[in-house]
């Protein structure tokens, strides 16, 4: 039992606990906070795998984005804590069935496919340099330029859409 394994187990427990906390807490703000914690633990997983760039991006992008979610919860929804659930009656059994199917499926896959040696080795320390980052950027801006640009246009459209939607609402209220 080496130190990596211990760290992994502790982190796994924390990440599962925070995920459960997010789903089960009655207060939307606490849910958002648990989600942030979960993202941070995932970032630490990336660090364990020797990918600091992805880890830092994870914290910046997701951790920062939850802030916006948080504000939405407080400002727009107003309902910080949920009333006792009045969900549709068939929703809960369906959810449980689907979850069970997912669990069975993944367990089956893990048991049937997981050989002790899949050829996955610990990442090389040499990957953990500025060069890999540079390589990634090169690939992104040469080989995958079109998808990259399309994604940026997609994000732009989403942003414009959000602005248009909120603007309309305001005009409607004033007139």
């Amino acid at each position: 039992m080496n130190s990596d394994l211990i760290v992994f187990i502790v982190l796994a427990i924390v990440s599962i606990a925070t995920a459960m906390g997010m789903v089960f807490s009655r207060n939307a703000v606490y849910s958002a906070l648990f989600l942030v914690l979960n993202f941070v633990t995932v970032a630490v997983f990336y660090l364990l795998l020797g990918a600091p760039f992805i880890a830092m991006s994870q914290i910046t992008v997701y951790g920062g984005a939850i802030m916006v979610l948080f504000l939405f919860v407080i400002m727009l929804l107003g309902a910080e804590s949920l009333a006792p659930s009045k969900a549709l009656p068939w929703q809960r059994p369906l959810a449980f069935t689907l979850a069970l199917v997912l669990v069975v499926e993944s367990v089956y896959l893990i048991v049937s496919r997981a050989q002790p040696n899949l050829g996955i080795t610990a990442p090389d320390a040499s990957l953990n340099t500025m060069d890999s980052l540079r390589q990634m950027a090169m690939e992104l801006f040469s080989k995958y330029l079109l998808p990259f640009e399309v994604t940026s246009i997609l994000l732009l459209v989403a942003m414009v859409g959000a602005i248009v939607l909120t603007k309309q609402e305001k005009n409607g209220r004033e007139s």
Partner: protein
């Protein structure tokens, strides 16, 4: 792994924390004295020579103050929020190189806690986490004013974070690395502030907004929001917010010195590595004085102007500056002509003047009442 390495890490982390905590205490003294001088007052001068024991007296006072927890606050978050504000301000300093290395007891001791390859990104990610403490403090206090302060601070920090990121980009391009040590070493011949003065200025303004310093201290605007997000806090919990603000000031001045003012570099630093922290300290003191000076002389900016300044002036300017820097460096590499490097400051200053002209025109139009 050798246990002495662990010991070294722990000791270095501890010493860095102690430096920051002591720095916080004496920064309050420094600020009060400097503000007093600017306003032709005397400032705290009773406790000890030149009032040097004032921070200790303040600490004792705060520790013995009664801590109130108002009824109907969200208690867990209320207690957690000051901690969440202080911790990022402390861990930010981990990647900042204080110097090169020196020999002690026959082993090489590096003068930085962590040599992170993506040091700049680390700073960005911690900065994005740092908002939470303030917003949670505002929300959990269950107080309208505190809530407003928290929301203001989050809007402000999200807006200025983009500008901050772009000015980081200019430094990354010039240093050709995300590692802060490489960035410092890239400034051996010339500080980056000479090549990119506008980038440094934008970074300065954006960081002022990030740490909620005057003239961007909207979250705790006393006249409008009583005390903003920390209205309900007292005693040591309030002291923690105070501590976080001043530590962030120190750390951000350290980052600024590292990115644009040559960090620990200075004459003779290669021969005597222990001079490195001294140079960095001197630069930080000067930069801190600039922050205090700004606070003493400029009134608080109005909230809508703060937003439109960030989005309509600062962000386009930062984009233009990043673009100019990248193009200049690229062309200089392609044609091996240093003239292109010198076109960077010229073009950036021209774009700064254009931005200033826009602000001037806008303000003049508004003051004439024609919207």
């Amino acid at each position: 792994m050798d246990w002495t390495i662990w010991l070294e890490w722990v000791l270095k982390g501890f010493i860095l924390c102690m430096i920051l905590l002591t720095g916080f205490a004496y920064l309050t003294w420094y600020e009060r004295r400097a503000l007093a001088r600017i306003q032709i007052r005397v400032g705290p001068n009773r406790a000890g020579p030149q009032g040097l024991l004032q921070p200790i007296a303040d600490a004792v006072k705060l520790i013995f103050k009664e801590e109130l927890t108002p009824a109907r606050v969200y208690k867990v978050v209320f207690i957690l929020a000051p901690v969440l504000t202080v911790v990022p301000s402390l861990v930010l300093a981990a990647v900042i190189p204080l110097g090169t290395s020196f020999h002690l007891f026959g082993r090489e001791v590096n003068l930085f806690v962590a040599d992170v390859n993506v040091g700049v990104l680390y700073i960005m990610s911690i900065a994005s986490i740092a908002v939470y403490g303030i917003v949670l403090a505002g929300w959990s206090s269950n107080n309208k004013y505190a809530m407003l302060g928290g929301i203001r601070s989050s809007a402000q920090m999200i807006s200025y974070e983009l500008t901050l990121g772009l000015s980081f980009v200019t430094a990354i391009i010039m240093g050709n690395s995300m590692n802060l040590i490489d960035i410092v070493n890239g400034q051996r011949s010339l500080w980056f502030v000479v090549i990119q003065p506008v980038g440094a200025l934008i970074f300065w303004i954006a960081t002022l907004a990030e740490v909620n310093r005057a003239p961007f201290d909207m979250p705790d605007a006393e006249q409008e929001l009583t005390a903003g997000f920390h209205a309900e806090y007292s005693g040591m919990k309030f002291a923690l917010f105070f501590m976080a603000e001043y530590q962030k000031m120190i750390v951000i001045c350290m980052i600024m010195a590292t990115l644009f003012f040559g960090g620990y570099l200075g004459p003779g630093v290669d021969k005597f590595p222990l001079l490195g922290p001294v140079y960095l300290f001197a630069k930080v003191i000067v930069l801190l004085f600039l922050m205090i000076w700004v606070r003493a002389t400029w009134p608080r900016i109005r909230y809508d102007r703060l937003m439109s300044f960030g989005w309509k002036i600062l962000l386009p300017l930062a984009l233009a500056v990043a673009f100019i820097t990248a193009t200049g460096i690229l062309l200089a590499d392609l044609y091996e002509n240093q003239l292109f490097v010198w076109s960077i400051p010229v073009l950036s200053i021209i774009s700064l003047l254009v931005a200033v002209a826009f602000i001037y025109r806008d303000l003049r139009r508004k003051s004439h009442g024609r919207f």
